[in-house]
Symmetry: C2
Subunit: 380 residues, 2 copies
């Protein structure tokens, strides 16, 4: 199996991630942050270690501002709904995932306005459009760092500057870029950073986090046992307990820590360069195949390791099915939970065949994909 669906979930994981999950489950699978015995403390330390590693990777000063969630969708809902109130206005882009668009659209019924900036056909946003969309009641700009359909990298540093100057909160969806691209919450003026653990960060599914800038009051939307201030019937306000009710996915978080340690050891640049190289090679080879239409920038300097294509007018899911069944190549087809992105790039009806390249992919994997695509094209 050639796995080219890393934009959905990175696979495989570094061996140490499996080891960390298993070690945690087998050797200290107790309840972190609740009881005070050795196993519970060790479980709690596993969680805190990962919090610190996340802080290190994204230049977050205080690890307690890192809130663990169960996935990026969870993080994004918390950020969007925890901040926006009736009368507020939020700016986002047409390249967003449904985990940003659906919460924002759902808030319309609560009197929260939105502006969805139309991106160009390669998925790029014009920062002037963002600037122009800012109104007196604009509370937040919510932007993906990299499109999950075309890989298009958004100018988040520039947008962060715009947000700061306008005194508007900046929420970044780093689902496609965290663990591969540099994200510095301070330098980029990011107030809220949402990430899954199971993509670029190489952690297990069932993990994610939201970074919340200090002194930013985000309304929690779950209450429960936190192991702190148990005598009170109101949710404690301390970080990160306020947002972490109930038992955490502690083995998963330990695994995520091992994933981040792997990334820090390899170095972001090495990871990024490897993915860039494969992406550009893939694009260059695809360009030579007549009926293949490539979406997005077609330039690995301007996009992450995500390449969306179509073959003529063939149904994208049909092509993905052939790649899987006849060539043992795993990709994803359809709309990838980002309908407006497909309207933006002109593939709403057809969807796209998406190749998500990961750090563990090799040139041979790309060659196999190219051979398969050529063969499919020759038989159409």
């Amino acid at each position: 199996m050639v796995y080219l669906d890393n934009a959905a979930t990175s696979y495989p994981k570094p061996e140490k991630v499996y080891d960390a999950v298993l070690d945690h489950m087998k050797n200290f699978g107790a309840n972190p942050g609740r009881s005070g015995h050795q196993l519970a403390l060790q479980a709690g330390r596993g969680i805190f270690k990962t919090r610190e590693l996340i802080a290190k990777l994204f230049n977050i000063e205080n690890p307690m501002q890192v809130v663990f969630t169960c996935n990026a969708t969870d993080s994004l809902n918390l950020a969007i709904k925890g901040v926006l109130k009736e009368g507020d206005h939020v700016i986002t882009s047409s390249m967003e995932h449904n985990s940003v668009l659906r919460p924002i659209k759902s808030l319309e019924s609560k009197g929260i306005e939105n502006t969805i900036i139309q991106c160009d056909c390669e998925g790029f946003i014009n920062t002037k459009d963002i600037k122009n969309a800012i109104k007196s009641n604009t509370k937040m700009i919510a932007l993906t760092h990299g499109s999950n359909v075309t890989g298009t990298i958004m100018p988040i540093k520039e947008v962060g500057k715009i947000a700061k100057e306008a005194n508007v909160l900046f929420l970044v969806d780093g689902a496609q870029t965290g663990g591969i691209y540099d994200i510095d919450v301070n330098e980029m003026n990011i107030d809220l950073l949402a990430l899954p653990g199971h993509k670029g960060l190489m952690g297990p599914q069932g993990t994610g986090f939201l970074y919340i800038r200090e002194n930013l009051n985000v309304m929690h939307f779950k209450e429960g046992g936190t192991g702190s201030k148990s005598e009170e019937l109101t949710q404690p306000q301390m970080m990160p307990d306020r947002y972490e009710s109930g038992t955490a996915n502690a083995p998963g978080i330990s695994g995520l820590g091992a994933g981040i340690e792997f990334i820090l050891k390899e170095g972001l640049e090495k990871i990024r360069n490897h993915e860039k190289e494969l992406t550009q090679y893939f694009i260059d080879e695809l360009k030579k195949i007549e009926p293949v239409k490539i979406y997005g920038p077609k330039d690995a300097e301007k996009q992450g390791a995500v390449v969306s294509i179509n073959i003529g007018s063939e149904d994208s899911s049909e092509i993905a099915y052939i790649l899987d069944s006849a060539f043992n190549i795993a990709v994803r087809s359809g709309l990838h939970c980002a309908p407006l992105a497909h309207k933006t790039i002109g593939s709403f009806e057809q969807g796209t065949v998406r190749f998500g390249i990961g750090y563990f992919n090799t040139k041979e994997d790309i060659d196999k994909a190219i051979v398969a695509i050529k063969e499919i094209c020759s038989e159409i």
Copy 2:
């Protein structure tokens, strides 16, 4: 280490649970329900299998009514906040965990009334009190099946009947009983059943579920990618997608499936009888130790495998610390996230030392705990 903190998290897990998590992560760690390739389908099947196993264990007709969550707190928040609206009234008990009490108290500000039925000093509820508390605007009764402080088993079948007769929804928190006691959502008229995966169900942390009775409209409170109806900017209404946005903890859910398979193979009765036996033995031995005060029913027929004690007026966390550091026995001290339960049984100031007995505990474990408690008592 003698682990007697199973009321927080069951530990260890059956070997097959570790195997299932690792097998899932290593061999089909793709994104379930999103892409259509073999690995993704296999991951999806792993999730569906667990859904079916849960349905089987709790006599749920349609597995699609089982919604995966990240823990019981998540499930309880969804059930409580998804159902109750301004003007509604909810009945609960003084023995509830903060994962029930805190959400219910938070809803007061939204015009949702509550009645907290005072239980007796052993934690029992008088069903007449529930009946009497029902008003014309009562929408829900939310009740734990077993107290996490005293183990007291609540008469959920009787309460289910009361709820049905009054046309009131019945939410059961099965955190301490699921996987040990019989819970039949049909026979017991349970409309909503919230459970963690990591306690009696023997699954990994980071898993849980909410059963929602068919045709019951529970408002979701997260939107995002569901891998279904991706062309729409509104959340799909189909079950269980409506409540399962974002990537699930698929390896964890596979592990949970293995836990439930273990339970089904052993049989609930065997599990329950083993825990009952140890609990009664522990209680009987504790009764012989002069300065030990035992809370709750002191009768394994009327309580789960949870025994809360204090030694004279000693601080409960001090005792737990000694058990851990001098005797290598893991227990939990304090309020166990259930403050009103402690007010009910008279231990709000002192907290309790809680012994959570699990299926993998042995008579030898209990003997070690007894020896340790005797020794501590003799030195005070």
